[in-house]
Amino acid sequence: MKCLNVEQIYLYLEKELSSAENNEIEQHLASCPKCKNAFEERKLLLQAAESLPLWEVPAELAKKVMARIDSAKILPSAWMKAAAAALASVSVTLLVIFLATGQNLSTLLLGVNNNLWNYIRNFLPILIKLFKLASLLFGVIRHFIGYLLKTFSWLAELASPQVQLTISIIVIILVAILIYGIKRKILVGEKT
């Protein structure tokens, strides 16, 4: 086995490697004084880092926070805020229509209800088809992004940031050329 790299030594010390990898490293350490020395040094560094003193927490810290929490409120989550905003918008719209047309509120609501029902009846089949299409598209995009992320994570583990950047730029250029080529093909097709 060739000499260890430093990252391997750390991962071995942190028990992040498989048992087969651990065995290989142990065998190498037993026969290579240079790597053994590097290993002992990193071991000491981690030992010291992992036993650094804790910052002393004042006994009254929790009480101080609790005293301030008495005047604080749990804020509504983002969707609750959105729902409140939507309700407020609908109310204001209804009020404006009521003021502008002079119709009483029940007639107005009845009219809105009828119109809404007509829209739903007409557009429901289209909506269902669109929904099916969207879910299909979403599935494809999700898989594509999944593979893309896996590739990036694999790349990040293997290559340095400079190499990653170079590969990313090359891929972007290739994709741009591909899109441009497809666009040209379509345009040529349209002309003929």
Binding site: C3, L11, E16, N37, L75
Partner: protein, 190 residues
């Protein structure tokens, strides 16, 4: 009850209006949060103030907490954003890839150097701890942050990746860079 279930239980009780349940959360996480914030900002008084602020911000946002994630990673995400805001207000571009990291350029060498000096072995463990504390202040905050989480707060690489929203490989690489940079600082200051 597992730690994860315990956290969810405390949060549910807090949301229902039982504020005392949140005090249990504070007591559970105050030590690790102060260890992180303290070493990120470097001053005790400021660290204590920030720790309180982070707990307050967490309390106010409890409705947004998604139980499929670990509470501790969510808490550290809030703390990390808080620290980043602090650096930004101080107009320190601390969390973009830092000058020092870029100009010194490359990642630390992967191979064990042939003439590797045993700098660290010259120190007693207690001395070494003091040296590491000093060296931590000199490495870029984005490396310091992951080092603290990994080796002081003992979070897993996966948890750190979740907090920062980064690929696992990037996190492992950053922690490695942090350790080797600390070693380099120790070597320079021997």
């Amino acid at each position: 009850m597992s730690s994860l279930d315990e956290d969810k239980h405390f949060i549910e009780r807090t949301i229902k209006g039982e504020k005392e349940a949140f005090e249990l959360i504070i007591r559970k996480y105050q030590q690790s949060l102060l260890n992180y914030i303290g070493r990120m900002v470097g001053e005790r008084e400021l660290a204590l103030e920030f720790t309180q602020e982070v707990f307050l911000r967490t309390y106010s946002s409890l409705q947004s907490y998604q139980p499929q994630y670990k509470f501790s990673t969510w808490l550290f995400k809030i703390a990390s954003n808080f620290v980043i805001d602090f650096w930004r207000k101080k107009k320190i571009d601390a969390f973009s890839l830092d000058e020092r990291e870029n100009s010194s350029g490359q990642n630390p060498p992967l191979q064990v150097a042939a003439d590797e000096k045993s700098i660290i072995q010259k120190f007693e463990l207690s001395q070494l701890r003091i040296k590491i504390e000093d060296a931590l202040k000199e490495i870029p905050p984005q490396l310091r942050e992951v080092f603290i989480w990994r080796h002081i707060n003992e979070l897993s690489y996966e948890e750190i990746a979740e907090i920062k929203g980064l690929p696992l490989g990037t996190v492992k690489n950053r922690v490695f860079q942090a350790k080797e940079l600390i070693r380099k600082v120790l070597e320079e200051k021997k």
